[in-house]
C-alpha cells in the first residue's frame, strides 16, 4: 500500500495568517467602539463601506491577475486594510473618500506590488497619505464630539451626509463640523498647530476656549481604546513587543527633549502619546509584519525611527499629525535596516 509523502515537520502550530488578521480585527474593537461613541455612527458606516470596497477591489484585481480568489480573500488582509482606512478618515467624510482610499490601498499599494507579503508600503497609510494630499479639506474636517453637536444627528442623517454631503434637514457637513460658538472643529493636534502658527504658546492654547471645545478628550479616550486592544495583541503574541515599545519610548523621549528645550512651542510627551493616531500606529500600523523590519534590532530601530519622524513633523512640520508619513518613510528604510541588523548566526562568535 502506498502512503502519502510529505515534508517534515509533520506537527505544526495551529495558528494561520487569517487567524492573525482576525485577531487584529477583534482587538481593534475597543478603539472603534470608543470612536463611534464619541463621533457618532458615521465611523461604523465608513468601516462598512471601506471593507465592502476592499473586498470587492481585491476580488476584481485577483480576477485580473488570475489568482485564486477565495483563499486570498480569506486571509483577511484586505478587510483589515479597509477597516484601518475607515478608522483613519473623518466619520462624515464623503463616501468617495473611503472608496478612493481603499481601492488605491488594495489595488495599487498591495496587489500591484505582488499581493500579500510583497508590498513595501503599508497599504492603509499610503492610502491615507494619498487622500490627505489630494483632498485636504475633506480629510481634516472632523465633526465635533456628539455631546457638542449643535444639531442632533440620526443614523439616517449620517448616512445621508456621507453620501450626499447633507443631512436630511439640509445641513452641510461643514455646518455640522462647526460647533455652537461658530468655531470650526478639528483634531486637537490641528487646533494646537493652527494656534501655534498664529503665535500663541502651548499653555495659552490649552487654556483657550476653542481648544477646550475641541475633541481632545475624546481623542484621548480613543487612544486608550487602541492601547487596550494593542495590549491584548501583545498578550496573545500576535505582535511582538519590540516595535510598539520602541515607538512609544521613542515618542516619549524625543518629545520630552523638545518639550524640555522649549515648553512654550512644543507639546508635552503625554499629549503626544494620547493624541492623533499614536496608539493606533504603535500597535496596529507599525506592527504590520509585511512592511516592518523583521530582525529584533531592526524592529527596535524601526520603531524609534518612526517615532523620531512623528515628533519632528508634529513639532516643526507642515502637517498636524505625521503618523502616516512616518510609517511610509520608515517603510522605505526597512530593507536597509534589515540588511544591517542581521543577527549573528550560531557559531559566528558572540
Amino acid at each position: 500500500m502506498a502512503f502519502i509523502s510529505s515534508s517534515s515537520p509533520y506537527q505544526r502550530v495551529r495558528r494561520s495568517t487569517s487567524e492573525i488578521m482576525l485577531l487584529v480585527l477583534l482587538c481593534l474593537i475597543p478603539g472603534i467602539f470608543l470612536q463611534s461613541y464619541f463621533f457618532g455612527l458615521g465611523n461604523l458606516l465608513q468601516i462598512l463601506l471601506a471593507s465592502t470596497v476592499a473586498l470587492l477591489s481585491e476580488t476584481l484585481i485577483l480576477i485580473l491577475r488570475k489568482r485564486p480568489i477565495l483563499s486570498t480573500i480569506k486571509d483577511g488582509s484586505a478587510l483589515l486594510t479597509g477597516v484601518l482606512i475607515a478608522i483613519a478618515i473623518p466619520p462624515l467624510a464623503p463616501w468617495w473618500i473611503a472608496v478612493i482610499g481603499t481601492v488605491f490601498a488594495v489595488i495599487f499599494v498591495k496587489q500591484l506590488y505582488g499581493g500579500l507579503g510583497q508590498n513595501i508600503f503599508n497599504p492603509a497609510m499610503a492610502a491615507y497619505v494619498l487622500l490627505l494630499i489630494s483632498f485636504p479639506v475633506q480629510m481634516t474636517t472632523w465633526i465635533p464630539v456628539q455631546s457638542l453637536h449643535p444639531f442632533s444627528l440620526t443614523v439616517m442623517d449620517q448616512i445621508n451626509a456621507l453620501f450626499t454631503g447633507f443631512t436630511l434637514d439640509g445641513y452641510s457637513v461643514a455646518q455640522i463640523s462647526t460647533s455652537i460658538d461658530g468655531l470650526t472643529m478639528a483634531t486637537p493636534l490641528d487646533t494646537a498647530r493652527n494656534a501655534l502658527n498664529s503665535g500663541k504658546t502651548i499653555s495659552e492654547i490649552f487654556n483657550s476656549p476653542e481648544y477646550k471645545a475641541s475633541s481632545w478628550q475624546a481623542i484621548e479616550w480613543v487612544n486608550l481604546g487602541f492601547l487596550i486592544g494593542g495590549l491584548i495583541l501583545l498578550y496573545k503574541r500576535v505582535i511582538l513587543w519590540y516595535i510598539p515599545i520602541a515607538f512609544l519610548a521613542g515618542i516619549s523621549i524625543f518629545s520630552f527633549i523638545a518639550f524640555a528645550y522649549n515648553p512654550d512651542l512644543n507639546i508635552s510627551p503625554l499629549f503626544h502619546l494620547f493624541s492623533g493616531a499614536t496608539m493606533l500606529g504603535a500597535f496596529f500600523i507599525l506592527t504590520d509584519p509585511v512592511t516592518a523590519s523583521t530582525t529584533v534590532k531592526g524592529r527596535i530601530f524601526y520603531g524609534v525611527l518612526a517615532a523620531l519622524i512623528v515628533v519632528v513633523i508634529r513639532n516643526i512640520g507642515g502637517y498636524p499629525d505625521a503618523l502616516a508619513f512616518a510609517v511610509l518613510l520608515a517603510n522605505m528604510c526597512v530593507p536597509f535596516i534589515d540588511y544591517y541588523t542581521q543577527p549573528k548566526v550560531y557559531g559566528r562568535g558572540r
Binding site: 517534515s8 502550530v13 507579503g117 510583497q118 523583521t294 530582525t295 543577527p343 559566528r348
Partner: protein, 694 residues
Amino acid sequence: MTTTPINLLSEEQLAEISSGKHWSFHGGIHPQENKQQSSKAIIKDAGIPPFLVIAVEQKGESPLLLVNIGDSVLKGQALTKATDVMVVQNASSSGTVTAIEKRTDLHPSGLPVLSVVIATDGLDRSVEYSRCADYKAQTNTQLIEKIQNAGIIGLGGAGFPTHLKLAHYAAIKLLIINAVECEPYITADDRLMQEHGDEIIDGITVLQHILKPQLIVIAIEDNKPDAIAAIKRALQKKQSSQSANIIIRTIATHYPSGSEKQLIEIITGQQTPIGKHPSELGIVMHNVGTVFAIKEAIIDGKPLTSRIVTLTGEAFRKKGNVSVRIGTPIQYLLDKYEFTPTASQKLIIGGPMMGFSITHGDVPVTKTCNCIVAPTLQEMPESPPEMPCIRCGECAEVCPAQLLPQQLLWYANSKDNSKLDEYNLSSCIECGACAFVCPSHIPLVQYYRIAKAEISSAKQQAEKAEIARIRFEHRAARLQQAKLDRQVKHKQAAEKRKQQLQETNGGEDLIAAAIARAKAKKQATADPSDAPADNKKDAVAAAIARAKAKKQAAAEHSDAPADNKKDAVAAAIARAKAKKQAAAEHSDAPADNKKDAVAAAIARAKAKKQQALESTQINTEINPENSAAIAARKARKEQARLHKRQDLPAQIIDTTIAEPQTIDTTIKASDDKKTKIAAAIAKAKAKKIAQKDQ
C-alpha cells in the same frame, strides 16, 4: 581529519559546568510531545522476519563484500570489509544470502542502494562472541578497530561512524552523552535508559577509558524522570573513583535541545564556530544508544545487529519500543504490531519534526531508524495550503541557528545562491522549528533542503568545470608542445643530416672542401637535377625523395590513404551515410567534390554495414544482452528513418532515389577505374577489421 584544537575549554569553564550552571540557546519551540503513547511498555523483541535486507552502501560508496549469493551466514558475521571510513555491516540473523542487488533504502528519496538480502532460517545461530572483561588492557587503536568491526555508527539519527568520532581522542576535555531525545513521540532512548542503565554506565566507562575526558555530562530532558532515576541508580552503584567526574544534567524540555550544537551550547555556553567540529572545543558527544552499543561491542564482543525502534502513532494498535534486527522490512513490523492504515495515511521515519515520510513498507530498518510514527489524520492533519509569507518573523524568533528564515525563503525562491550563502543557509540544521511556527504554513525546511542540494550540486559542477578547464588547458598546452617538439625534431634531423654530410666531407681540409664545393657547384650548374649544390638544397632534395619514396610505398601497399585528413572526412561521411541510409546518403554526395572519395565512402559504408552485421552475429553468440541492445538501437534507427521519410514529400524521395544513379553513372563515365580501386581498398580494409574482431 585531525583538527588542531585552539579553542579548548579552559579549566575554569569546566569547573563552571560541573558546578551545575547551564545555559540556553536562541529560539526553540515546545511541540506536543506525545511520548506517553510508547514510553510505558517494556522493550520487546520484534522477532526474526522471513528475510532481511541489509544495505551495504555507505555515503554512495560500495564496500568490498565478503559474501556471495548462496552463502549461508550466521548472526553477527561480517558481510563487508571495513575501510578507513566505512564500518563493517554484519548479518543480523542466520540464513542464506539470496541476492546482492539494489533495494530501496530507508532514505527520503526512496531510491535503491546495494543491499544484501538474507533469507533467514529462524534458528538465529550466531558466531561466537568473545567476551572481554579486561578491555583496559587493550590499546585505543585496538578498541576503536573493534568498534568499527562491530559496525557502530551514531544511533541518534545522523549515523556518523563512531570510530571516526573517537579518533580525536587526543584532546578531549568534555564528553557529553546525549540522552536528550527532544523529538516528540520517540522514547527509544528513554526506555533504553530505564531498562539498561547499568550497561550504559559501563559503556560510558569504556568511552572514558578511550577518551580520558576531564568531565562527562549525561544530558537528559526533564520529561524523562524514570530514565533520570534509573541512570542515577546505576551511577550510584558504580560509585568509585571512575564515576567521580560523571555528572547527570537535567535540562528543560525544549526542542531542539538534542541537536549536537544546541546541546553543547546548553551544557557549556559555547557555540561551535561555523565550519568547525566540536572537537575544536575539546568536546565530543555520543548518543546514549551508541554508548550502549559500544558496551556490547567491547565488553560482550557483540556486533551491532539490532536496535531499539519506537513504534508509535494512533494507527498502531500495539505501540511501544521493540528491539529490531537491522534489515527487518518495515512491512513486517507493520503487520506484527497491528498497523491499521487510515485515510491518507502517512508513515514517518524518525520523529515528526525532523523525520521523513516513506511511501511503502518494503524498506528495511537501518541503524539510524529510531522511530516509526504512524499518525492518524486527526493526530497530524495535512498541512493547509501554503500562503504568502507575511514576514511576521516568528521563524527568526524560534530559529536555534539564529538565521533569518524569511530572508532565506525569499532567496531560495529566487534561487539566489550567493545571497543564500551570505545569509548562512549552510548553518541551517533543518530542525523544522521555523516551519512549525509559520502561520502561512510554508514548508520552509523543504525549500532549504532543495536549495542546499542545488547549491551543493552547483558547487560540484563548478569544481568539475574548473577541473575540465584545467585539463582542457593542459591538453591544449600539450598539443602545442607536441607540435613544437615535432618542429624541433625535424630541425634536428635536418641539422643531423647536415652534419653527417659535413662529416663525410670532414676528413679533408677546409681548402679541399672549398674546392670540392666549388667543383660541386660547377657540376650542379651543369647537372642540376642530381647532385645537390649545397647542404640546403641537398636537404630539400632528400625530403622530396623521401616523400616520393613514401608515396610509392603507399601506392605499392595500396593500403594507407595518402592523406589522413581526407580519409577522416571520407570516413565521417561514410558513417553518416550508414546511419542515414539511402536517402540521407545521397544528399551528402553533391557536397563532396572528389568523386573518388565519394565512391570510396559509399563502398566503405557498405563494407561497414556488413561488418556491423558480422559483429552483431558474433555478439549474439557472446552476449545475448548486448545484441538485444544493438537490435533495439537498430530498431530505433529504422523507426527514425521511417519517421523522416514520412515527413518528406514524395517528390523529394523520388529525386533522392533517382539521383544516386545519375551520380553513379557520371562517376562511372569519368573515373571508372579510380572508383573501382578505391572500392577495392575499402573492401579490403573492412575485411581486415572484421577479421580482427573475430
